[in-house]
Symmetry: C2
Subunit: 203 residues, 2 copies
């Protein structure tokens, strides 16, 4: 059985992830997590001292992926800035389609008043922005990319990718979509955003 091959700690983490992602920190119930993991509630405190510490563990694991690791992509010499940003959009949307809960989980946590201090543990400080900036400057000097504000542009691209996942329940109502419609909409969103990027960045 695949269930038995999981250690107790892994079972707890899996159950906690599911619960915290769905209900948030305040909404999550320790008993609920224990039930989902098929163990006694006391075990949660045995492996992780408190609800806070368990949550911290999950958040640390998940937040790593809110901003993807694009350092290597940005450093490549054989692609233009435009191509890099197109690649970024495709990779990011595909990733978020697989883990659609991460954006909301991260955004809720960093905005929540009850869970201060988590922001400091964000692992993407100065990773993404700087590599994008350098990559842009190189192309700009050669005049192969239009003059824009790279920081504003980066925020815009991320916003265009992430927002549909944050506003998904709203979009489903506004555009009268089922789950399958949303997925196909996100699929066709990739070439659409690539088009926008190319139009904005072409000199």
């Amino acid at each position: 059985m695949s269930e038995q091959e999981q250690s107790t700690e892994e079972k707890i983490l899996a159950a906690a992830e599911e619960t915290f992602v769905k209900d948030g920190f305040e909404g999550a119930r320790m008993q609920n997590i224990a039930n989902k993991a098929g163990i006694n509630k006391a075990m949660l405190h045995y492996y992780f001292r408190s609800k806070e510490m368990l949550f911290e563990k999950i958040f640390e694991m998940k937040s790593k992926f809110f901003f993807p690791a694009v350092k290597d992509m940005m450093k490549r010499e054989d692609t233009t800035f435009i191509e890099k940003m197109e690649e970024f959009v495709e990779g990011y949307i595909n990733f978020l389609t697989r883990y659609p809960f991460i954006p909301f989980f991260v955004v809720r946590t960093v905005n929540s008043s009850g869970t201060q201090g988590f922001i400091e543990k964000l692992p993407f400080k100065a990773q993404l922005a700087e590599s994008v900036f350098i990559s842009y400057q190189k192309d700009r000097e050669q005049g192969v990319v239009a003059e824009i504000d790279p920081n504003q542009f980066l925020i815009s691209v991320i916003g265009m990718c992430v927002f549909p996942f944050l506003g998904k329940p709203i979009l489903k109502v506004v555009f009268e979509m089922e789950e399958s419609n949303f997925e196909s909409m996100m699929r066709s969103r990739i070439p659409e955003l690539k088009l926008y990027i190319r139009k904005i960045l072409t000199p």
Copy 2:
């Protein structure tokens, strides 16, 4: 005193708004709201039967403004689609700058598993999307606007405006910003987004 001129109901609503917006439904405490309003906790249940009903009232008031009322703007005959979208960005960002908590409040509520049923009460069903679509089609027929997907474009523009407010705590860390820096960044974001819109939509 301005405090005494407020009726008890107004005091409750003001305190509830502040608390719910900051802590969300599950995080908010009735006792906290009562203290903030300077009244007895039983009064909350006297004026609004339950926590759910009080929250519903606040959410209804706030969610109206998540998607701004742009119907009239979109129906104007003397502006092009490009100009309308530029005007939209300027108005929306200015609005969100004044009420920067609304996006997160709405997004958290519609995504929360504990507060189902509130989405149905969203007042913007088919208001925004349809008026934008019609406005685009008119210009498209005259060839004065590029061929894009108007729905995807609308989601993109909203995402570019809203995302900075949702990710504000993260952006402040990533770009090492203070509150004042964030504000000036949002100010300079308006012409930047207008530039993007013009580049995307110019045929």
